[in-house]
Symmetry: C2
Amino acid sequence: MTEHAPLSAEELAAYFALREVASLLEHGVEQQLRDDGGLTGPAFGILARLFGSPTGRLRMTDLADGLVYSRSGITYQAGQLEKRGLITRTPGEDDERSIIVEMTPAGREVLDAVLPGHNDVVRELLLGSLSKRDVAALTDILGRVRDRMRAGPPRSAAPRAKRN
Amino acid sequence: MTEHAPLSAEELAAYFALREVASLLEHGVEQQLRDDGGLTGPAFGILARLFGSPTGRLRMTDLADGLVYSRSGITYQAGQLEKRGLITRTPGEDDERSIIVEMTPAGREVLDAVLPGHNDVVRELLLGSLSKRDVAALTDILGRVRDRMRAGPPRSAAPRAKRN
DNA sequence: TATTGTTATACTCTATAACTATA
DNA sequence: TATAGTTATAGAGTATAACAATA
């Protein structure tokens, strides 16, 4: 099952294209977020998730799950947002170990100030090059990849190179 | 031309899928590089580009161009690699302002030690979920996006949100 | 015991601006 | 003047491990 065979030219091309596009897209987005709202990528991620949450409230752990950061990383980012008054952190009522994060009106304002430009950048860098069919194909393909990644990170299927 | 209209659900789905897959992939790859060769992502990028270069030698500026880093960032990364004896930096002969970077045998060893595991991780996380048609479609779509991104970053077409 | 979250620490990385040297 | 590269600096982000409190 473990095949150390090199990747084919086609596979490499797909891999590199993905990495490069994602990298350029990330840079573009982060610059816009900084310019328009003084937000870092992670900070924007937190606000966006709070905005997208049905109740508008999420636990720290919920945030850490979706985003790819460590727990202490989330604590740091949330601390920055709280300092700026963009979120509040209050102890959970049912489970007193947990912390409930909510967006403040000020936070909502910053998000609103940033979203239009964000849309523009994503459109300009990514979506502008794509037909509706492309968008659908991308979502289909990458959606499957994501689901498999999230599903069971089959650690057992993650062979490390054995040198010598 | 400037439309601040929100992204459609389909567009958002594609964008999020791309960001999430790229993020998870990056984390997986960086962990493997660290485990198998003590390399960071940028350091691996430099070695890989030297390996891929026909002559095996690249100027600092050539490295900075492909990778997304600032010049000082490349200087830093190259400094780290030089400390470990994985590359050499020698003044250019034709143009004495430039620095020629080359991979040492030790650098080649580290790269060789890392590549098999790297292939495995990419296969496991990304390619394992994809058919040949998927790979081709991904390359086609993202290749177009990349070309447009690289082509002429039409700054003029990069509208910043005007908060009234 | 396991889980939630914070803190302390230490390190890596990155960018900016000032600087040197060559073209 | 413009280009190639370095350095100094300073800040932001990240992870790890130890910790406290609740379940």
